[in-house]
């Protein structure tokens, strides 16, 4: 019986009455979105890719406005309604462009989290609007009974949308520092989470029999709650994974709405964005040697803090000054700079680039080595260096440059720590064991800029590189140290 109603919905007039030209236009929009991502394969083609994306969006919006112009109850064009829609777009445009212009590049992860939350909430609002007025979306019969397939799609859309929204809000608060980055562990949280998820799935199944408002709104409410519960136990160090994962969810939410509306542009986009976020989550997990499940289970920051208090043995290390560093690097043939997030926090990127420029003038070959988790989100450090005018062809990813440390004279580590720790390769008891690291210890000389000897990295482990014979520790603020090295290079009389 139920099977039959699924069949009739699938083969019957599911989705909106299709205008063939509109269908072609949506398909073109979808293809333009694919080209937008394709352009990102190289910085040279990326800007034209972005313009393809804008064109695709313009086509999708204009097509919808033409095929679904606002109508009055007697079927005429509703001019006021059209103005309202254009005003709504205008308000969004002004807010969006102002945010995009003002945001600091260090705050990109927060901005992206905020944008994800808006996609999620918009998906919830659209699903709710479709529930309240299903005939307008062509997903109900004359009696107002919503098609079975549409009910499943709608339930999925609202659940994913609501999870994206509340999860992104928590991620935003953690990244923005409004909320502590340390994990919040509720007792019995796995049982609460699994129970809530089971309730959402069960209610979505029940929704196919009974479309009463309480079922719909309970699914919505529970989904908001689970998004919140899923993200609060995840610590600050895992936020790159969370942001990527929420990126993926926002795509699946769009795809679910695309199924409801039978719209190819939405389905193609949802699939693209969903895969993109999933791949980025995978890349981030691999870079930290963490399984996706353990990130989702949460609590990483708390465990690390506990294990950090272990050994506090004093080992000898060699201090150095900015003048020493300037001398060593100006005499070198090859210098590899390893920047970490601490460098960006200290706002040292411009001083660092100036240092690189002066070294290049001395004939030194300067390269930058980026670990995938050097920033707070995928590719973040590359943006921060680009902002400081570091040419992108001097910046290399871990797997492309790791072989070059053995031939380099100086590795200059600034604001990074765990990503250079050789114990990740050798010490099976280390919390970061198995994480891919930059082989700075193979360089002839390591210059390590660090605020003090006391502090340890995110993972709370000591770094053997500090105590090696060829390492010189440059203690102090990253920006001040880079500025002083620049001064020393300038004053060197060359």
């Amino acid at each position: 019986m139920e099977f039959q109603s699924i069949l009739s919905a699938a083969t019957g007039e599911h989705g909106l009455a299709v205008n063939p030209w509109a269908a072609v236009a949506y398909l073109i929009a979808g293809v333009l979105f694919i080209l937008a991502l394709r352009g990102l394969s190289s910085p040279a083609t990326a800007q034209s890719g972005n313009r393809f994306g804008m064109a695709g969006m313009a086509i999708a919006v204009v097509t919808t406005l033409l095929t679904h112009a606002p109508v009055t109850l007697d079927g005429g064009l509703d001019t006021i309604g059209l103005v309202e829609i254009l005003v709504a777009i205008g308000i969004g445009a002004v807010i969006g462009i102002v945010m995009a212009r003002k945001i600091a590049m260090t705050a990109m992860p927060q901005l992206v989290a905020a944008f994800h939350s808006l996609v999620g909430l918009a998906a919830v609002a659209v699903a709710a609007a479709a529930y309240l007025n299903p005939q307008a979306f062509g997903i109900a019969d004359a009696a107002g009974q919503i098609f079975t397939v549409s009910r499943v799609e709608m339930g999925l859309g609202i659940a994913i949308g609501a999870i994206t929204f509340s999860g992104s809000v928590i991620a935003f608060l953690k990244l923005n520092g409004n909320m502590s980055g340390s994990p919040i562990m509720l007792p019995g949280r796995h049982i609460i989470n699994l129970g809530t998820l089971a309730a959402i799935i069960g209610l979505t199944a029940y929704f196919t029999f009974d479309q009463s408002p309480w079922v719909f709104w309970t699914i919505t409410g529970l989904s908001f709650v689970i998004g919140f519960l899923l993200i609060i136990p995840i610590g600050g160090a895992d936020m790159p994974v969370v942001v990527s994962m929420l990126n993926s969810y926002s795509g699946w939410a769009a795809a679910a709405m695309g199924f409801t509306l039978g719209n190819t542009a939405m389905i193609i986009t949802g699939a693209l964005v969903g895969s993109s976020g999933a791949i980025l989550s995978y890349i981030m997990c691999r870079a930290m040697n963490r399984s996706f499940i353990s990130v989702i289970a949460g609590g990483f920051g708390a465990d690390a803090a506990a294990s950090g208090g272990g050994s506090t043995e004093q080992r000898p290390w060699k201090p150095g000054s900015a003048d020493d560093a300037a001398f060593l690097m100006s005499q070198a043939e090859n210098v590899i700079i390893v920047p970490g997030y601490g460098m960006a926090v200290a706002q040292a990127q411009h001083a660092l680039r100036e240092m690189g420029d002066l070294l290049k003038k001395e004939g030194v070959n300067v390269k930058y080595a980026i670990h995938p988790v050097a920033g707070r989100m995928p590719g973040h450090m590359n943006v921060l260096l680009a902002e400081a005018n570091v040419p992108y062809d001097e910046v290399f990813e871990l797997e492309d440059i790791n072989g070059e440390f053995a031939q380099c004279d100086v590795a200059f580590v600034i604001g990074a720590n765990d990503v250079t720790n050789p114990s990740a390769k050798t010490d099976k008891t280390s919390p970061i064991y198995g994480m891919p690291v930059l082989d700075v210890e193979k360089a002839k000389t390591v210059l390590f800029v660090k605020r003090s000897m006391g502090g340890v990295g995110y993972a709370g482990v000591d770094n053997d590189v500090f105590y090696m014979d060829q390492t010189m520790m440059l203690l102090g603020d990253a920006k001040k140290m880079a500025d002083d090295i620049v001064k020393a290079l300038n004053g060197g009389g060359h």
Binding site: A10, H14, A23, A36, L37, R38, L40, A46, Q47, M57, A69, V71, L73, G81, I85, A88, I89, I91, G92, I95, G96, I103, L111, F115, L118, L121, A122, A123, A125, V126, A129, A130, L132, N133, A136, A253, F259, L261, N263, T264, A265, I267, T269, A271, L272, S275, G277, L280, I283, M377, G379, H380, N382, V383, N389, P391, Y392, D393, E394, V395
Partner: protein
């Protein structure tokens, strides 16, 4: 369109997404996130349909609210992506 046709498009698009995203250079992963953010706001299509339909005032206002939210994302997402991409420069030789 029937469900199977839509589902086929979805599955094929997932494969396209998989291959296109792996070909994105890691240096551009942040712009990738901001541009995917912008294009996922294609849900504005649903929001526009809701805002334009007669018959339910609450549905219409929910639609208009969604139009505002999606527009913030579309304009903000494309603008911030363009701003970042303009920073990537090649070495001056």
């Amino acid at each position: 369109m029937d469900f199977i046709a839509i589902f086929s498009i979805f599955v094929l698009a997932c494969f396209v997404g998989y291959f296109v995203v792996w070909s994105v250079t890691p240096a551009l992963h942040t712009p990738l996130m901001s541009v995917t953010n912008a294009i996922s706001s294609v849900i504005i299509v649903g929001a526009l349909i809701a805002s334009a339909a007669a018959g339910s005032a609450s549905s219409k206002w929910l639609g208009l609210a969604a139009v505002v939210m999606a527009s913030i994302n579309i304009f903000g997402g494309f603008a911030v992506t363009a701003r970042m991409l303009a920073m990537y420069k090649k070495k001056v030789r």
